[in-house]
Amino acid sequence: MTTEPTRPPEPSDRPDPPAADPAALAALDGTPEFQRLRTAFRRFVLPATAAFLVWYLLYVVLSAYARGFMGAKVVGHVNVALVFGLLQFLSTFLIAWAYERYARRTLEPLAAAVGEETP
């Protein structure tokens, strides 16, 4: 197993913080606090990713294979394809907003609790 080579100290007024002890970090992986963080992270991120990918691919597949449906008029010259496209924008904005909220309320406190006693 190779580890990153140690780097010379930086001659900077804004140095990168000193390297953390790898073994101490790795040891945190098994703690219940970290397990909770990982579970909470995956519980949001994986379903959200699956959802937006399926929703986007549905849009692309309908654009390729269901052109009659996509061309149906909704109101005036606005058709299903345009509404569907605009909904993709809306869903993207909503997921980004929801994740920001979840990260601040749930993930950041959980991350702060990891390894509290052994920094």
Partner: protein, 538 residues
């Protein structure tokens, strides 16, 4: 025309002077490697969000997508939506974890728990390949575009444009590093947003802010009626393959963005993961609004200028937005028309210049940090040597890009942008995600994934109708502009390789992993803690 040309050149000169000034100022604050590669990690989320937008909203997405709306109607939307949705991959799966666990490049994360030299070499190579493809497309496009916008014809003008664009991008990167380049992106993004906003409001005002009216007018003027407003004029009108091509393109767009090196290195320019997340959110907002504006601009050009007049200037539609500006300003021959056209043309130059600078920075960072410092010098290079190597490689990569672009100036290289996304989606994203999420992943898997995805994406394009244009039963139209031959039938029928090359990249990574007994559980534990908590982050 001459009046407009003068104004364009003056405005562009002002932009160049301003950005050169900013770059020289930034150079005084660029001392360490963290300054050069990551802008001192001191940008705010809004600044980095604008810079992400600046790096991403290329001339291809401004002029190209507006042109696609103007000539092919709805199909422009398929592009812009893919480009936008892709940012969710970056937000949810990449940005924060990369910021927490890496230092300067994508390879920092991919190689974290692997054997450094081979994996960094592979990640560095794919970074440079993606960046060079993208760079060539932008620079060749710049040559053609400037000729169109300034009304100069002839090869000398194209060559000069490529040389000037190349020289400026080398200057921004070598002198200003990430700090200078980021400020160039910010200035460009603000100019582009203002320009697009003015055009959008102006177009909407002409139709009483009724989108339906605008769409109706565009459909009428196009002569294609309602077909203009639904998908299919550009994609899938002719045969079954082109529908699969559309799926293949969509997949590469949505999965490629979070594997583009010049986007990834931006996540290191902010102080911490929270700021990285916030900057992606800004980028999503900025880019989303921008693509909504290109919809109005493109349909506005179709309705007000008309597809015929646009195609007469450029059959790819790249002049739709500038022609619309001329029309809005009062039409050809009027002072207002000349001024507004000149403004939009100058914004388009600024856009190209900023994007090529970002790409040059990404490839020279990876060259210096991955290939020079870690592969050649085995991690023993000093920071000063590393930064010197980065500056030197920016000059070399820039020079190579200039020469290649000059040779490629007569070719239709727009496909290189889609190919860059396909390589990023096939080689970079799978290995990046597997190294962050899969405990069992190892060196053999990373190497197989990167090289497999890279070879699959590039190889399939070499076998595609882009290179071999012969018509066949299933591809009745063929491709008269094919690079190698216009009558040999392409062995692989799709122009976009993603549908096949992304699964190949992923399968290679998984198979390579399982065929090797090597495990890196201890280092994975460390990586996971770093990535999710930010402990030990640079």
């Amino acid at each position: 025309m001459t009046e407009q040309r003068t104004i364009s050149v003056v405005l562009f000169a002002v932009f160049v002077a301003l950005t050169l000034f900013i770059t020289v100022r930034a150079s005084r604050q660029t001392r360490t490697a963290a300054d050069f590669y990551a802008g001192g990690r001191s940008f705010s989320p809004l600044q980095n969000g604008l810079a992400l937008g600046g790096d991403y909203m290329s001339a291809a997405s401004f002029l190209g997508i507006a042109g696609m709306f103007a000539l092919s109607g709805y199909d422009g939307f398929l592009y812009s939506i893919g480009f936008l949705v892709a940012w969710l991959v970056a937000l949810l799966l990449v940005a924060e974890m990369l910021r927490n666990s890496g230092r300067f490049t994508m390879a920092d994360v991919v190689a974290f728990r692997m054997r450094q030299r081979p994996v960094r070499a592979a990640a560095g190579i794919s970074t440079i390949v993606v960046s060079i493809f993208y760079l060539l497309a932008q620079m060749v496009g710049a040559g053609a575009l400037v000729s169109l916008l300034l009304g100069t014809s002839g090869e000398a003008a194209k060559i000069w444009t490529i040389v000037v664009v190349g020289a400026l991008m080398i200057f921004y990167v070598t002198v200003g590093g990430m700090k200078g380049t980021t400020w160039v992106q910010i200035v460009k993004a603000v100019l582009l947003l203002i320009g697009a906003f003015v055009m959008t409001v102006w177009v909407l005002a002409k139709y009483g802010f009724d989108l339906s009216d605008l769409l109706g007018a565009a459909a009428d003027r196009s002569g294609k009626g309602d077909a203009f407003l639904k998908p299919g004029l550009k994609y899938g009108a002719t045969d079954a393959w082109s529908k699969l091509d559309l799926l293949s393109l969509g997949l590469a767009l949505v999965l490629g963005t979070a594997g583009l090196p010049h986007i990834l290195i931006r996540f290191y320019t902010v102080p911490n993961a929270r700021a990285a997340r916030a900057s992606v959110n800004w980028a999503i907002g900025i880019i989303g609004v921008f693509y909504l504006m290109t919809l109005v601009i493109g349909f506005g050009a179709a309705a007000l200028v008309g597809g015929k007049a646009i195609a007469a200037q450029d059959k790819g539609g790249n002049t739709a937005a500038p022609q619309l500006a001329e029309h809005l300003g009062g039409g050809a021959g009027s002072t207002g028309g000349a001024v507004f056209l000149a403004v939009i043309a100058a914004v388009a130059f600024a856009t190209i210049l900023a994007v090529v600078a970002g790409l040059t920075l990404a490839s020279s960072s990876s060259f210096a940090h991955d290939l020079f410092a870690n592969v050649l010098k085995r991690g023993k290079a000093t920071e000063r040597d590393e930064v010197r190597a980065a500056r030197f490689s920016a000059i070399v990569i820039g020079a190579v890009a200039i020469v290649l672009s000059i040779f490629a100036r007569g070719l239709n290289v727009a496909f290189l942008v889609a190919l860059a996304f396909a390589v990023a989606a096939s080689a970079n994203l799978p290995t990046l995600l597997l190294s962050l999420f899969w405990r069992r992943f190892n060196t053999a898997g990373a190497l197989a994934g990167i090289y497999g995805g890279l070879v699959a994406a590039v190889g399939l394009v070499l076998l595609s109708p882009i290179c071999w244009g012969g018509a066949s039963d299933t591809l009745p139209k063929g491709n008269a502009d094919a690079l190698f031959s216009a009558d040999t039938v392409a062995p692989f029928p799709l122009q976009n390789p993603g549908l096949l090359s992304i699964p190949i990249g992923l399968l290679c990574a998984v198979a390579g992993t399982l065929l090797s007994k090597s495990r890196t559980d201890e280092r994975f534990a460390e990586l996971e803690v770093r990535a999710l908590t930010g402990r030990g982050a640079h």
